[in-house]
Structures are given as structure tokens and as C-alpha cells.
């Protein structure tokens, strides 16, 4: 495997919507194989827009996105801020859905679905419908659904923003574990400095109006990261560093707006 080789290169990417809002301007970003990359920035700086461009849900106005050649069309999984499950379908059917849309039968999909449900600690809930689950459990289903096609890249748009802190920590740990075992690439959008430092090996801090990359921070702390890392002085120092950069990014926004 060519570890760390670029998977996606974004070259001068910009997006201007038909209402005249320039959500992104001149974004240059390289996503390497196996990266856990966080997009961190104030509200409205174009994080979701960037993620939708990467997912292919929207096309850039300027610039280009170059995927590594051998990447197929459907190599990405997506996890939304809300669980976004089919409310009428069981947990199993929800996780099966991406495979089902590719023509994989229930029986053929069953082993993969069951394995993933076990990985996200939801064995035994196959037949529950979403309303019978807690917020955290729904998010786990959503993550399992994002991973069921074995995507090379998992795109997550503030997946844990609506959860309480305890649940969020738990899901952070589980996500890291999954990521280390499966070695997929993650692009993770978040508002939280602490979350991004805990999870990622790279943080891309963005600034708004127009949305752009302000600065990139490398988080060199080794994996696996566990609860001990969360309370370590190294973690605190990294958080302070990231938060200082974020403040600068926000201030640069104010300067631009004034």
C-alpha cells in the first residue's frame, strides 16, 4: 500500500451559489490515504459545502478535484449531522440500504451488516425501528450504514454535534477504533476543537467570508488514543494551539467582514 499517498487533491476549488454567496474560494487541500482529517471552523465557513463537493453531491464553480486514478465512483460513505435514517425501516434494513441499492440481496448482505452492527455495539437491535433507539444509538446505525459498502473515504458532517458529551466521547473512541482497524480515510467536519484534536492527525482550520483554508495543524500524538490521552498535558497543549489558530481564523473573518 502506498500509505500517505494523495487520495484526493483539491486544486484552487471555489464554489459560488446562484444567490451570489461565495461559500468557498481557492481551497487547496490534499487528502492522503489513511488520513483522519478534520475541517474545523466557524459556522458558515463552507465546511459542509466542501464536504458535499468531495462527495460529488455538488460541483465546484472553479478549480478541480482530482481523485487518485483507480478510485471508483462510489468510494465514499457519508454520515450526516442528524442520523437521517429511514424511520419506517428496521436497524438492519437501514444499514442494508446502501448495499440494497447496489442490488445486494438481504441474505448476501446479512454477514456484513451483522458484523458492522456488532462493531458499533448494536447487536440484538436489528429489528428495532429508529424511534425505539436513543440519539447515540441512532448515530451508531448511521455510522454503520456509512461503512457498510467498505468505502475508501468516510465523510462526516458534524456527526456528533447533537449528542451529549458522554455519548460523544464514547462514539469518538469507537470511531477511532474502527478507523484504526479498517484503515479507511476520514474527513470529519466539526465545531469542536477538543474533538478534532482528539481524533485527527491533521486539522484544517477554515475561515469564513469567503470560506477558505486558514491554516493546517498536524497532530502528531500517536494512536491509539484513549481516555488517558484525553487527560494528558500533551492533549491540553495541542488543544490550546488549535484553539489559538481558530481564534485567529475567526478574527481574520471579522477583519474581512468589516
Amino acid at each position: 500500500m502506498n500509505e500517505g499517498a494523495p487520495l484526493l487533491v483539491m486544486d484552487g476549488v471555489g464554489k459560488t451559489f446562484s444567490n451570489g454567496v461565495t461559500a468557498l474560494d481557492d481551497v487547496n487541500l490534499t487528502i492522503g490515504e489513511g488520513d483522519f482529517l478534520s475541517l474545523l471552523g466557524p459556522s458558515g465557513c463552507g465546511k459542509s459545502t466542501a464536504l458535499r463537493l468531495i462527495a460529488g453531491l455538488s460541483v465546484p464553480t472553479r478549480g478541480r478535484l482530482d481523485w487518485r486514478k483507480e478510485m471508483g465512483d462510489d468510494c465514499v460513505g457519508f454520515v450526516f449531522q442528524e442520523p437521517t435514517l429511514l424511520p419506517w425501516a428496521s436497524v438492519f434494513d437501514n444499514v442494508w440500504l446502501p448495499l440494497r441499492l447496489r442490488g445486494v440481496s438481504r441474505a448476501k448482505a446479512a454477514p456484513a451488516v451483522h458484523e458492522l452492527l456488532e462493531r458499533v455495539h448494536l447487536s440484538g437491535f436489528e429489528n428495532a425501528v429508529p424511534r425505539e433507539l436513543s440519539g447515540g444509538m441512532k448515530m451508531r446505525v448511521s455510522i454503520a450504514r456509512g461503512l457498510v459498502t467498505k468505502p475508501r473515504v468516510l465523510l462526516m458532517d458534524e456527526p456528533f454535534a447533537a449528542l451529549d458529551e458522554i455519548t460523544r466521547f464514547k462514539l469518538n473512541n469507537d470511531l477511532l477504533e474502527l478507523w484504526q482497524d479498517e484503515r479507511f480515510t476520514v474527513v470529519f467536519v466539526t465545531h469542536s476543537v477538543f474533538e478534532s484534536v482528539f481524533l485527527s492527525n491533521r486539522i484544517v482550520v477554515m475561515a469564513a467570508r469567503p470560506g477558505r483554508v486558514h491554516e493546517e495543524i498536524a497532530i502528531d500524538a500517536p494512536y491509539p488514543r484513549d481516555e488517558a490521552f484525553r487527560t494528558s498535558p500533551g492533549y491540553a497543549a495541542l488543544c490550546r494551539q488549535a484553539s489559538d489558530v481558530l481564534v485567529l481564523a475567526i478574527n481574520s473573518t471579522h477583519g474581512a467582514a468589516a
Binding site: 458535499r52 462510489d74 424511520p87 419506517w88 440500504l97 440494497r100 441499492l101 429508529p130
Partner: protein, 283 residues
């Protein structure tokens, strides 16, 4: 710890009162309307007796009941005729309404072009359209069906269209990301999402198809021969046979109530596992 636990068992006065009220309300929901109904029927009977109202103007409830029994063969035969038209037109309304709604969601242009016609059909009183249908359609059953269908299909069409279009944006993106075909999106996403809306429309359409069937018979009965409940009512009206008129009327209302209850039950059963509207009734 022990305090909170014992509290959970022995209810405080406020919770106890709330529980009592809830229980009373549950009983009252059935008992009150029934009592009022019985009282009203009793009053009806008394008014007939006190004022010595002749039977051909206002029959006593007992007489109506007797007529219902005596004329059972005739009346239930007619009821069957009306029911046939009602259910056939409801079935056609479902097929037509859902079919058109699906067609509309496949293309905005189709919807823009044809939805106004559906509205025109809906807002024009059926009684005014009927003479035209009468000229152009020969078959009596087809006439009645067409009439009842026009009345009943609109709520299904408009509700289902709304439902098919109110799918969560993220879910649609999810389907797009997974390369879903138009057909897959319709089958796995839009149709299930439209289910609560469709069932709401069906509940309205059920009552309307009965009304449509009866109204159609009325208008047709004036011009031709028909054997449904409406023609029994017209006939009884001509002959000043008020007891039979009342009996037929009661049959129609009961039918309407049964249709509504059955469709409500269907809707509840279909949605109870996931939709908010069906969850309320559990508590």
C-alpha cells in the same frame, strides 16, 4: 434513594389526580356521546308523542327501527348497490390518485401542466358536471363510478403528491450518493415517506366516495333507473314513507361511520411502528 423509590410506588396527590382524570376521560370519551345520543333519541320519541306528530312527517324512532327490520331485504339490497359503487370508486380513486401523484413527482413539468386540471375538476360541483356525464356515458354503473371517482380522487392525489415531495433532503442525497435509480428512490424512499399523507387522504376519500356515490345516484335517479340507497330515499320521499326514508338515511350514516373507522384502523396499523401520528394513541 429509598425516599424516591417509595415515592415511585405511592403516587403523590397531584399524580393520583392526573391518573384519575385520565381514566375518567377515557371512559367519558365513549360514554358521553352515547348518553347524549340516547337522550336525543328519547327526546325525539317524546316530541313525536307530545305533539302528536303524524308518522308521515316524523316517525317515532321505534317505528324507524321496525321499518329497518321489515324492509331489510329491500334496504340492504340497495345498500349493497351503493357500497359497490363506493368501494369501486374508492379503489379507482386510490389507483388514479396515487398513479397521478407518482407521475407528477417524476417531472415538475407534468405536475405544473396537469395539477390545475385536477383542481378544476375538484372545485366544480359534481351535480353541475353530472348532466354532461349523463349525455356522454351510457352505462349506468360507469356513470355513477365516474361521478364518485371525481369527488373522491382529489384528496388522495393532493395528499400523496405532497407526501412524495416532502422527503428529507439528506435522505435524498444519501440515495444519490449510493447511485439509486429513479425507481429505487420512488420505491424505497418516496412511497414509504408519503404513506402517512396518503393514508390521511384515504380517510377523507373514503367518506367522499360514499357521498359521491349517493349524490350520483340522486342525480341519476331523477333521470334514470337506479337501485341504490339514494333512489330508495327519493322513492320514499315521493310516497311520504318517512319511516323508510329515515331508515335509509341511518344506513347511509352508519356506513359512513364504519368506513371512517375501518380506514382509521388501517392507517393506525400501517403507521403504528414509526409515525408520530400513530404513537399518540398509545399513551
Amino acid at each position: 434513594m429509598t425516599i424516591t423509590e417509595s415515592r415511585a410506588v405511592a403516587l403523590d396527590p397531584e399524580e393520583a389526580r392526573r391518573l384519575r382524570n385520565a381514566r375518567l376521560e377515557r371512559i367519558g370519551r365513549w360514554l358521553l356521546p352515547l348518553t347524549i345520543m340516547v337522550l336525543a333519541i328519547w327526546l325525539w320519541d317524546r316530541i313525536c308523542v307530545w305533539n302528536e306528530i303524524p308518522q308521515y312527517i316524523l316517525p317515532r324512532p321505534g317505528v324507524v327501527l321496525q321499518t329497518l327490520h321489515k324492509d331489510a331485504g329491500l334496504l340492504f339490497g340497495s345498500l349493497l348497490v351503493t357500497l359497490r359503487i363506493t368501494f369501486l370508486s374508492l379503489a379507482l380513486a386510490v389507483i388514479g390518485g396515487v398513479g397521478l401523484a407518482v407521475l407528477f413527482t417524476q417531472s415538475k413539468w407534468v405536475e405544473m401542466s396537469f395539477f390545475p386540471f385536477a383542481v378544476v375538476l375538484q372545485v366544480t360541483p359534481i351535480v353541475a358536471i353530472f348532466p354532461l356525464i349523463n349525455i356522454y356515458v351510457d352505462n349506468q354503473t360507469a356513470k355513477l363510478l365516474l361521478c364518485a371517482w371525481i369527488v373522491a380522487f382529489f384528496p388522495i392525489l393532493s395528499n400523496t403528491t405532497l407526501g412524495l415531495n416532502s422527503v428529507d433532503r439528506n435522505l435524498r442525497d444519501l440515495f444519490r450518493l449510493n447511485g439509486a435509480t429513479r425507481w429505487q428512490e420512488l420505491w424505497h424512499l418516496r412511497l414509504p415517506a408519503a404513506m402517512p399523507y396518503f393514508l390521511g387522504g384515504l380517510k377523507i376519500a373514503g367518506g367522499l366516495s360514499l357521498i359521491g356515490a349517493v349524490v350520483a345516484e340522486f342525480v341519476a335517479g331523477a333521470s334514470g333507473q337506479s337501485s341504490g340507497l339514494a333512489s330508495r330515499i327519493i322513492e320514499a320521499g315521493y310516497r311520504l314513507n318517512a319511516p323508510r326514508l329515515f331508515a335509509a338515511l341511518i344506513l347511509i350514516s352508519l356506513t359512513g361511520i364504519v368506513i371512517f373507522l375501518v380506514l382509521s384502523l388501517v392507517s393506525h396499523l400501517a403507521l403504528r411502528r414509526w409515525h408520530e401520528s400513530a404513537l399518540k394513541q398509545e399513551g
